[in-house]
């Protein structure tokens, strides 16, 4: 993948995360940036969970294949 394509993909993810954070924070009527940043962190954690699961599965499969070989 080219650099431009990586930038496009990262931008799309950032836009998406921003939309989710705005959506999660707006009902709280935040007076400061803290709730926004806190929600941003929590959304990133939720996004990270499936990625983490995928990495663990990949690692397990790779390890099993290594053992069998």
């Amino acid at each position: 993948m080219k650099l431009v394509e990586w930038l496009i993909a990262i931008s799309l993810v950032i836009i998406g995360v921003s939309c989710l954070t705005m959506s999660a924070t707006s009902m709280m009527n935040p007076a400061s940036m803290q709730p926004y940043l806190y929600n941003l962190f929590r959304i990133c954690v939720w996004i990270g969970i499936p990625i983490l699961i995928a990495l663990v599965i990949y690692w397990i499969i790779k390890r099993k294949r290594g053992d069998s070989e």
Binding site: M1, A9, L12, V13, I15, G16, C19, L20, T21, M27
Partner: protein, 465 residues
């Protein structure tokens, strides 16, 4: 931009699948929120109506009704108290005279609570309404209606819907970003393989694909690389085939032409010299005939045009016969032939003449490439019950990297030397074809400078009787 690409198709499919899940999920979440809100308000006004009706039933005085009317005016809900004829006795915030349906009245008279929706005819404002009968001593005295505006709920729900929509768009963008990377990464090896295959198809046989993983894609990349190697070898072999065939035909034909001219023009001095030249012409013509015969045989075998005369044969007898034939040649080179053939041996279902051809080729090869030492021939049964024929020499040997190719047409281990030895480069190719055709298997092992060993196995087809 070409949209007919695997990455785009994959990306669009993933996004459509995502939308397939996201849109119904969004609708369901919206329904859950709406239901929850309406339910909360309805329960609240039901409780209020029940309490008001209970208080009025208990006292049945106008003062209580007035007090409730006053209390209600302080809350954000509207209330009205109706008598048994459905005339308004007390009213808090209801600016119109609602028409109670007959069906509802009869239900109230029987003591049932009513949950309904009312609309202000002047403003068009919608209300959720809860009606509770005022019953005392089984007599119907009227009803209490508590109304709550739906506008507030609708506004809240609209806000929630907007936020759900925003979060849906956010989720869509995240999915789009990941799908973009995923579809490119998944399709990248295929695109690389397609490019490499195109290069190979155009003749660039050095093009290779790096196997990206150990799965089917990696296997496909390896297969493409193998195909390129095979094609390269095939191209080299074909080139070599034409070079070999033209060389192998030209050399004897040049000799024949030269010596024939010498004889025609009488350029010889003695009869002995003439006989020598005729002998050369004879030898060269035999060489050409043998080459053409081998080529013809091999092409017939490869095209499947050869028919086998299968019968029960004694391999030891066939081998003994062939050894007898090649023995003078081996003796002429000072080679010993060590034979180990059992007396009683199972018959094998094979073509006798073709078996002779196989053994002859192997024995001649062994004699041709062995300068000194012994040629060992052995026939025995294996532990698996098969018939094993071994022809082993103490010749020059074959390098390991050349071993897989020795059964290819015109494949010569040492190109120039093997031509000197008189081989056509077709003998082992013919042997392999004949063994395969008769259901056998041939294997070769070799050590440089020590010798080469050919092992042929055939299934047993009969017994010694």
């Amino acid at each position: 931009m070409n949209v007919n690409r695997i990455a785009i198709k994959l990306g669009v499919t993933i996004i459509l699948l995502f939308l397939l899940v996201l849109l119904p999920l969004g609708f369901v979440i919206n329904q859950i929120f709406s239901g929850f809100y309406y339910n909360q308000v309805q329960n609240h006004i039901n409780q209020l109506a029940s309490r008001y009706a209970g208080a009025i039933t208990a006292s049945r005085s106008t003062m209580t009704v007035n007090m409730i009317e006053m209390m209600s005016s302080f809350s954000d809900v509207k209330m009205m108290v109706l008598d048994a004829q459905m005339n308004i006795m007390a009213n808090s915030g209801v600016s119109w005279t609602p028409q109670i349906p007959v069906n509802d009245i009869s239900r109230l008279e029987t003591g049932d609570a009513i949950q309904t929706e009312m609309v202000d005819p002047t403003s068009g404002e919608r209300f959720l309404a809860a009606g509770q009968p005022i019953l005392a001593d089984k007599s119907f005295y009227g009803a209490v209606y508590v109304l709550s505006s739906v506008n507030g709920i609708d506004q809240s729900l609209k806000k929630v819907q907007q936020l759900l929509m925003l979060s849906g768009v956010g989720a869509f963008f995240i999915a789009l970003g990941f799908t973009f990377v995923l579809s490119r990464k998944l399709s990248e090896p295929l695109v690389l393989m397609e490019k490499a295959t195109r290069r190979i198809a155009k003749g660039d046989l050095d093009a290779r694909v790096h196997p990206p993983s150990n799965d089917e894609i990696g296997s496909l990349a390896t297969a493409i690389n193998d195909l390129a190697v095979d094609l390269q070898r095939y191209r080299d072999t074909r080139r070599e085939f034409f070079a070999n065939i033209s060389h192998d035909l030209r050399t004897p034909m040049t000799n024949v032409e030269g010596y024939a001219r010498v004889l025609k023009e009488g350029l010889y001095e003695t009869e002995e010299e003439k006989g020598k030249y005729l002998d050369i012409i004879h030898q060269e013509s035999i060489r050409v005939t043998r080459l053409l015969h081998d080529l013809f045989e091999l092409s017939k075998m490869e095209e499947g045009k050869i028919s086998l005369e299968m019968e029960w044969i004694d391999l030891t007898e066939v081998m003994a016969h062939m050894i007898q034939k090649v023995e003078p040649k081996a003796k002429g080179k000072g080679l010993d032939i060590s034979v180990d053939l059992p007396d009683q041996f199972p018959f094998v279902y094979a073509d006798g003449l073709r078996m002779e051809q196989i053994f002859m080729n192997l024995l001649e090869n062994a004699i041709r490439y062995t300068e000194s030492g012994t040629i060992k021939v052995q026939i025995r049964r294996t532990e698996q019950g098969k018939v094993l024929t071994i022809v082993e020499d103490t010749g020059i040997g074959i390098p390991d990297k050349e071993l897989p190719h020795v059964f290819e047409r015109f494949y010569r281990v040492e190109k120039s030397r093997s031509r000197e030895h008189g081989g056509t480069g077709l003998g082992l190719a013919i042997v392999k074809q004949l063994v395969d055709m008769q259901g056998g298997a041939i294997e070769v092992t070799s050590v440089i400078g020590k010798g080469t060993r050919f092992e042929i196995t055939f299934p047993v087809g009969g017994d010694t009787s």
